[in-house]
């Protein structure tokens, strides 16, 4: 395990590059006029979240992020775009211009409140990654199958219910 002091500078540089790319891509997701481009910019944001998980040494979660989000959910979005016959080129119908000022006000206000309270509370807290491997895949699976066994079972029931619900909703009869 690399000592935290020498690990700090490269991770901060990587974090800065990835965070800038993620914010740019996220803004493009909500402002682009081409719906397929929005889905592809969403891939960039999701990959950036996965890289952030890697920086925090959550390797199992990073792999899950790449497989489930980029592999499955983005494909689901592309199917949704295709099946609803959305306009594939540039289109002005995707936005509601009359709501732009109020939406901008709401989101900036939210960012101000969340950011200010977090800066006041967590300004100087450093992340100290444990060196004993207490965050690795083995400990995550130990935690799921001992302490969080009942939530895990409940999540599988939720997935089954969602699967049945999606089939019942989308079936032609």
């Amino acid at each position: 395990m690399i000592a935290s002091a020498s690990y700090d500078i490269p991770t901060n540089i990587a974090f800065g590059i990835v965070a800038a790319g993620m914010i740019f891509a996220a803004i493009r997701v909500v402002t682009t006029k081409n719906i397929v481009h929005a889905a592809l910019y969403l891939v960039l944001v999701l990959a950036g979240v996965g890289i952030n998980f890697l920086l925090l040494q959550a390797e199992f979660l990073a792999i899950t992020q790449f497989l489930v989000y980029i592999g499955a959910i983005v494909v689901l979005f592309l199917f949704g775009i295709m099946l609803t016959k959305a306009p594939l080129g540039q289109s002005d119908e995707l936005d509601n211009p009359s709501q732009k000022p109020i939406a901008l006000l709401t989101s900036l206000g939210l960012l101000g409140v969340i950011g200010a309270s977090q800066i006041v509370t967590w300004k100087d807290t450093r992340i100290v990654l444990p060196s004993g491997g207490s965050l690795n895949t083995q400990s995550v699976s130990d935690e799921i199958f001992s302490k969080y066994l009942i939530p895990f079972e409940v999540v599988s029931v939720v997935l089954l219910a969602a699967l049945n619900g999606a089939i019942v909703l989308a079936r032609r009869d």
Partner: protein
């Protein structure tokens, strides 16, 4: 690494997602903005989890599973709306307005 850099990135992603939910008219794009919000929450969970063992990662996994279920049901609902109305412009779905 400071904790605040992950928290601020997550807050910015969350706000961008809220903006998208409010301003977009196409139902699929609203679902994409909701994905931005859920991912912001996951960054927060994992960043806080580094201080207290693997619990944060476990809950982030649960959020990923619930997000997958949400996208599946949401897209099925959008398909139903498209089949009935030939459009997924959610500003036109205003039957509940008095």
């Amino acid at each position: 690494m400071l904790l605040i850099q992950f928290l601020m990135l997550s807050a910015i992603l969350f706000s961008i997602g809220v903006y998208g939910v409010l301003v977009r008219r196409n139902g699929v794009l609203v679902l994409m903005s909701i994905e931005l919000i859920l991912n912001a929450v996951n960054i927060n969970l994992v960043a806080f989890g580094t201080a207290s063992g693997p619990s944060g990662q476990v809950f982030a996994l649960f959020v990923i599973a619930v997000a997958a279920a949400e996208v599946g049901v949401g897209l099925a609902m959008l398909l139903m709306i498209y089949r009935n109305r030939r459009s997924i412009d959610i500003d036109q779905l205003d039957e509940l307005k008095g």
